[in-house]
């Protein structure tokens, strides 16, 4: 078992622990923060498995855009309970800090490694150029469909999120 296999298993443990903690939190903000660590660990595993561009996309889109969108919604709807005690704040955030710091250290180890002895074999690593050429040569039509899907999602989200003027101001007590 070489160094990279050890890093893989360590990342797998970080991934599973942070996901398990995330799905058991009562507070949605805590869940989102642990899930961010989980997605960063997934991105590092992608890098180890020879997909550096997908690792970048995973961290940018999942850990960046989607999780910030979740955080935004949780804060906007005020879902988080308002009890806040300053004393145990440190012990609350310590696991997140440990897991996040560990994954950042592993990221530094992986990224700063010598490319010649890099994670996957050199021929198996698909950089952005190879992936883009492959994607646009063989799968140009699904790419167009995916862009159309994003457009439909944008229109749908706009439609669902607009204010309804005719609705009564007071929310009904229960039921949709």
């Amino acid at each position: 078992m070489n160094l990279y296999a050890a890093i893989f298993y360590l990342l797998a443990v970080i991934l599973l622990v942070s996901t398990t903690v995330a799905i058991t939190r009562r507070d949605a903000i805590h869940a989102v923060v642990y899930l961010m660590i989980s997605f960063i660990a997934t991105g590092l595993i992608f890098y180890l498995l020879g997909a550096p561009f997908l690792a970048l996309l995973e961290i940018l889109i999942y850990a960046g855009a989607i999780m910030v969108l979740f955080l935004f919604i949780v804060m906007m709807l005020r879902l988080t309970p308002s009890r806040r005690t300053g004393r145990d704040a440190l012990s609350q955030w310590a696991p997140a800090a440990v897991l996040g710091g560990l994954s950042l250290i592993l990221a530094a180890v992986i990224i700063s490694a010598d490319p010649a002895t890099g994670p996957a074999l050199k021929t198996l690593t698909a950089g952005p150029r190879e992936l883009a050429q492959f994607l646009f040569q063989k799968y140009w039509f699904p790419v167009e469909i995916a862009s159309f899907l994003l457009l439909i999602a944008l229109v749908g989200a706009l439609f669902l999120g607009r204010q309804e003027k005719k609705e009564p101001k007071t929310p009904r007590p229960e039921g949709l």
């Binding site: 296999a5 899930l35 997934t42 997909a51 799968y139 899907l149 999602a153 439609f159």
Partner: protein, 101 residues
């Protein structure tokens, strides 16, 4: 490949089960959506591992489509959550019982 493919599969399986448990057992709509995100993430992990195992780029190309799908799904899902929160004042799935006989 630095680790056996079965280990990647097992990791993705456990991750998918965690996401499924979160999507089924939690009542908060935001947590249900988070569970769906975890499941999509596990599917992407399987695709990347398979892409390295069989040395084909199709797996990595498909992960890009999964990312697109996840982004679209989360945008529409969060808009739905806002819409239903505006109508009922709650994001608890058990409160949506108007049709209950």
């Amino acid at each position: 490949m630095i680790v056996p493919f079965s280990h990647v599969l097992f990791l993705a399986l456990v991750l998918f089960l965690l996401g499924a448990v979160c999507a089924v057992a939690r009542r908060n709509l935001v947590m249900i959506l988070i569970g769906v995100e975890i499941m999509l993430n596990a599917a992407g992990l399987v695709f990347v591992g398979a892409s390295l195992h069989w040395e084909h780029l199709e797996g990595q190309a498909f992960v890009i489509f999964i990312l697109t799908l996840a982004a679209a799904e989360v945008a529409v899902g969060l808009a739905l959550i806002i819409s239903s929160h505006r109508r009922t004042g709650s994001v608890n799935a058990d409160r949506y019982n108007l049709l209950k006989g």
